[in-house]
Subunit: 293 residues, 2 copies
């Protein structure tokens, strides 16, 4: 019960900060997004690389921020799309920095209890987590830049805010429905990855996402047709759950419970925004290609 | 001696095919580049994922081809850059497909001979090679699309051909100089990754790259100033060697000698074009931002 209280308070505080930053100005939007991007990438790389590759980690996060900023200026301030390729320069140095990791060039044979001979783990096989963090975290978050400017190029965070609200509604809905109906005799959603998730929670989350979409539509914040709002909410609800599962699988494979400790009761940034990483790209693509905003 | 003959003949045949395809027409250019891209990605993923993740491999190669084609049509045929984000759809499904790999969700503890308890390798740690192959292979090759259209939008392969010729000149130069001067008393370039490479070969390669750049400049094929041609040749020479080393490190860590067997005497596609993966992006960025072609 105390846990739930802490979780609720810190969750609400976080939500207020994000809503404020998105609505206030393009500067506060960029600041909060770069903070989230940095936090998520740092957590992701801490988990997967276990503290190795500090130079690579810094280069990768810098690349992620560069991609975000380029897409911000390209979409809002008429910068040529060509500039995006400059973010490939640090990528080249991420590859090159791998050459200088001493452990990667030591290949020691070990014998397992079964008498099998295999190479000892030198960490090399985890090195592509650096690059994959760009496609897993930096690119999805950078996609938000495509929907924060109206056709005249003026900043407007309302559409992005709608995506966040739908995602949070789905989260809260899944949590409540899951706790109420899914805990005891519930049907497991994906037990091999996330034992606590139930189908009851999934449907509850989807229901709340759709309700949020409808309400946002009526308030005018989500200025697309009602049908589009519902489809958008469905996409965010479904891909948000996949996003949760992808992150759970990561944590289970690296034996961590929370991605970080930045938010009391919620774990890390990655725990909080895992759903967005798969939900937002599909939502942005839907908004851009099927609704033409 | 017989090896050298086979190597020379198959090398020349391959070079003729590539030169012909690049010069002939945009269609033959796209065909050969997609073939190279597919071959390289397939080899890279076969080495790193050891045959697991077939669905993921197919999705990833499809994404790579999509990125290449989008950049081709965006740069040459006025397609909106926005279309590029459609290539994120298969990326989302690459993530989701990982959830359904049974092994990734089994976590078995094993005891090492030293009595240490660790998790048995279930392949999950190698899964990001899928996404990193996009940034390692697909994006660099797709960058070629930025330099195969003149400002009027007409296809012209001469600039790209110049990059290939400089890269090949560096390769041949490094091979010849390395064999002549570097084999016995030579100075090792990067022994921990590639024991056969010598500084003598490196300088010879750089010399041949610069010579190629100067000759291409005089013939008018490389229609930039002489100074720019020399700097371009230097960049290709240096980053080409880093590209070789990055691929060597990959092969050594996975215990393979050649990336494939498609070219007699040369190994696989990845062996042949490894240098281009780091050299071409930097060359394209230099051409686009410092020369404004």
């Amino acid at each position: 019960m105390k846990d739930l209280l802490i979780r609720t308070i810190s969750g609400i505080a976080f939500i207020i900060i994000i809503i404020g930053a998105i609505l206030w100005s393009p500067v506060s939007y960029v600041a909060i997004m770069c903070l989230i991007l940095t936090g998520m990438m740092y957590e992701f790389l801490s988990i997967s690389l276990k503290g190795s590759r500090m130079a690579g980690t810094i280069l990768t996060i810098a690349t992620g921020i560069a991609i975000f900023l380029f897409l911000f200026f390209i979409n809002g301030y008429g910068m040529q799309p060509l500039y995006l390729i400059l973010s490939l320069i640090p990528v080249l140095f991420i590859f090159i920095s791998g050459l200088y990791v001493k452990e990667y060039n030591i290949h020691k044979e070990i014998r397992t209890p079964e008498g099998e001979i295999r190479m000892e783990d030198n960490g090399y096989e985890r090195s592509p987590f650096l690059l994959s963090s760009l496609l897993y975290i930096a690119v999805p978050l950078s996609m938000c830049n495509l929907i924060v400017f109206d056709p005249e190029g003026n900043y407007s965070g309302t559409l992005l805010l709608s995506l966040f609200i739908i995602l949070w509604a789905a989260d809260v809905g899944a949590y409540c429905f899951g706790t109420l109906f899914g805990q005891k005799n519930g049907h497991r959603l994906f037990p091999s990855v996330s034992p606590k998730k139930s189908w009851e929670g999934f449907w509850g989350g989807l229901l709340c996402a759709i309700l949020a979409g409808i309400i946002l539509n009526y308030t005018g914040l989500l200025y697309i047709t009602l049908l589009h709002s519902i489809i958008l909410a469905l996409l965010i609800g479904i891909f948000g759950v996949f996003g949760d599962l992808v992150e759970s699988q990561l944590k289970r494979n690296f034996g961590v419970k929370d991605s970080g400790r930045i938010m009391p009761g919620h774990g890390g940034m990655l725990d909080r925004f895992d759903g967005a990483l798969l939900a937002f790209p599909i939502a942005v693509i839907y908004l851009k290609f099927f609704i033409i905003i």
